[in-house]
């Protein structure tokens, strides 16, 4: 199959099907409703499950119930909807069930607006729901990358028995780009029978399985949390993904940027290169785990004088960037979060102002 032209939202839906996920529960919200619209046509074609739940809260528990009995599941939403799902996400993480959540971010807080934003960085990487849990968070910068990340998200969710989140902004969901789909994913989770409530007959066992999050004994809860922490530490060792741009040059400034914003930054970096100003970039593809060493090493280059976190938020990722740079260089923030994506010219101006 050759390339076809798809909206990010449609491509995300199709990618999930090709990842072998035939179970989709969702609630409509702009700017991601096209995923539900696309899958309401496609799921019946492939014999899958499509259900529009009564709320995002309910949807998160539909995912939980279905995942807990061993099914591959996913949902998509946008910022206010993810806030509602965060309750369920905490339970799913606590109960160690795999599930994939896609957040096509819009402006906030509250209803905010429907235009693109990256203001849910904290929510995705630092919490959202209650308790000591982490999501593996991936941030695509193109429709093609969204497809690849969706197809990666399911095996990763199953490897760690943990929810994985795809964090895109409204533009990733709404823009159209040519895409090529990889082959269908063949893998099936292998250890399902050890934990899933898929019915004792299904696994030919007299031993029942229990999916729960309650540990009334302090020692047992601590043990449970230590075990979860070990998983998150393993993610930090094995799952960091990032892209470097213009990193071979003797750059004067280093940009850290992700998603749609990073594409604007690339144009800005090209424009500055034409003017004779070298600027490098680290683009995190995973936001948790964050590419800590990559940022530190890139900031260690002798020519580099400043690190700038450029994001469509009022300065969220910049806190992680500061943490990684460890005081070696000044760390600055530039961004907007009303829905207007900063232009390449604005990025150039901001970077120059910090030099």
């Amino acid at each position: 199959m050759g390339k076809i032209l798809m909206k990010g939202n449609e491509a995300i839906g199709e990618a999930a099907i090709r990842a072998g996920c035939l179970n989709y529960f969702a609630y409509p919200i702009t700017p991601q409703s096209e995923v539900a619209e696309y899958l309401s046509r496609r799921m019946p074609e492939v014999g899958g499950v499509f259900l529009q739940g009564e709320s995002e809260v309910a949807v998160s528990y539909m995912l939980f119930g279905a995942s807990a009995c061993g099914a591959r599941v996913f949902t998509t939403s946008s910022s206010p909807g993810i806030s509602l799902m965060s309750e369920g996400i905490s339970y799913i993480a606590g109960a160690q069930c795999p599930a994939v959540f896609v957040n096509i971010m819009r402006g906030g807080p509250g209803l905010g607006g429907i235009l693109p934003s990256q203001a849910d960085y904290f929510q995705a990487t630092k919490g959202g729901g209650h308790g000591d849990y982490r999501l593996l968070v991936m941030a695509p910068a193109s429709v093609q990358e969204a497809v690849e990340m969706v197809m990666l998200a399911f095996p990763l969710a199953e490897k760690y028995r943990n929810p994985v989140m795809l964090l895109g902004d409204g533009l990733i969901g709404q823009m159209m780009e040519p895409v090529e789909f990889p082959d269908h994913l063949k893998s099936e989770p292998t250890n399902k029978d050890e934990w899933a409530t898929n019915g004792m007959d299904t696994r030919g066992s007299n031993k029942r399985n229990l999916v729960k999050t309650l540990f009334l004994d302090a020692g047992k809860l601590n043990e449970h949390n230590l075990m979860l922490k070990a998983k998150y530490d393993r993610m930090k060792r094995e799952e960091i993904r990032y892209e470097l741009y213009n990193i071979e040059s003797d750059y004067k400034a280093l940009i850290v940027s992700y998603g749609t914003m990073s594409r604007v930054c690339k144009t800005a970096i090209d424009n500055m290169k034409d003017e004779g100003l070298e600027v490098g970039m680290v683009r995190p593809q995973t936001l948790f785990p964050f590419p800590e060493n990559a940022v530190y090493e890139a900031a260690s280059k002798e020519s580099c004088k400043v690190v700038v976190s450029i994001e469509m938020s009022m300065g969220q990722m910049v806190e992680d960037v500061e943490r990684c740079v460890k005081g070696k260089l000044p760390v600055k923030w530039y961004g907007k979060c009303g829905g207007d994506v900063p232009t390449p010219e604005e990025v150039v101006e901001a970077v120059k102002s910090f030099l």
């Binding site: 528990y61 939980f64 119930g65 099914a71 004792m200 029942r208 999050t213």
Partner: protein, 245 residues
């Protein structure tokens, strides 16, 4: 001489955590007996609520999931949609189902999700320590209605069976009780019917069970039965409210 009384296979040997005079144990047993009789132990998944029955999975030898407050019907929906062959029941109390989980239960019932809900109504929040529930009786004292439920401020107790019966989608909705043996016999039949409707893939089914909570009501088990019979049963009428046929 043969055995005349035995523990259902679907129940474990675990000592109960329920208080003396609490009827959760009876209801657990009815559900377990029905599961034994229908021979569905190997393909049944139970869903525990938040409430006194959160530890229900300690007593059932069945695959079990533990829900968040009120969300059991959404989880059951998820299971039945991806594994229609599994038999799924939620076991929920009145705070869980009629307060925080009102949205989930109404929409699951209205979609006609093919699972069974056992709804235990004892007119009070048990686990959290005796606070007012949506089903608390007018004038009933609880830790958050110390002067008695004031219906002018918080409205009348919600009759869930009637409310769910108003939905046009076919379903099996009944209210039973287990406070006396004569009621228990009828309740068992209702529970069985509810599971049978699910087995036949017919409809959503819900059995509301009027129950007791001597500890939080501040009564002896015998007084509690009397109070339930005199105060609750006239308001929460027993019977079948809706059948799919």
């Amino acid at each position: 001489m043969g055995k005349t009384f035995a523990k259902p296979e679907a129940l474990s040997d675990q000592h109960t955590h329920y208080c003396p005079g609490c009827t959760h144990g009876i209801i657990h047993r009815l559900v377990a007996e029905v599961i034994d009789e229908l021979g569905i132990k190997g393909r049944t998944v139970g869903i525990a609520p938040v409430g006194c029955a959160v530890l229900a999975y300690n007593y059932f030898i069945l695959d079990f999931q533990e829900a968040a407050h009120g969300r059991a019907p959404a989880m059951a929906t998820g299971i039945k949609r991806v594994r229609p062959d599994l038999i799924v029941f939620t076991y929920q109390g009145d705070g869980d189902l009629a307060s925080i989980g009102m949205g989930e239960i109404i929409h699951a019932a209205n979609r006609g999700e093919k699972f069974t809900t056992i709804f235990v109504n004892n007119a009070v929040y048990g686990m959290t320590g005796g606070q007012m529930a949506p089903t608390t009786m007018p004038g009933q004292r609880t830790t958050t209605s110390p002067f008695g439920r004031n219906v002018k401020e918080v409205g009348m107790p919600i009759k869930m069976a009637e409310l769910l019966s108003a939905l046009e989608t076919p379903g099996y909705i009944t209210r039973q009780s287990v406070i006396k043996p004569k009621y228990i016999v009828r309740a068992k039949k209702a529970v069985k019917k509810a599971f049978q409707y699910q087995l036949e893939g017919r409809c959503f089914s819900l059995v509301e069970v009027i129950s007791t909570c001597p500890t939080n009501w501040g009564l002896t088990p015998v007084q509690a039965v009397k109070w339930a019979e005199e105060t609750m049963l006239p308001y929460y009428k027993l019977g079948e409210f809706k059948r799919p046929d």
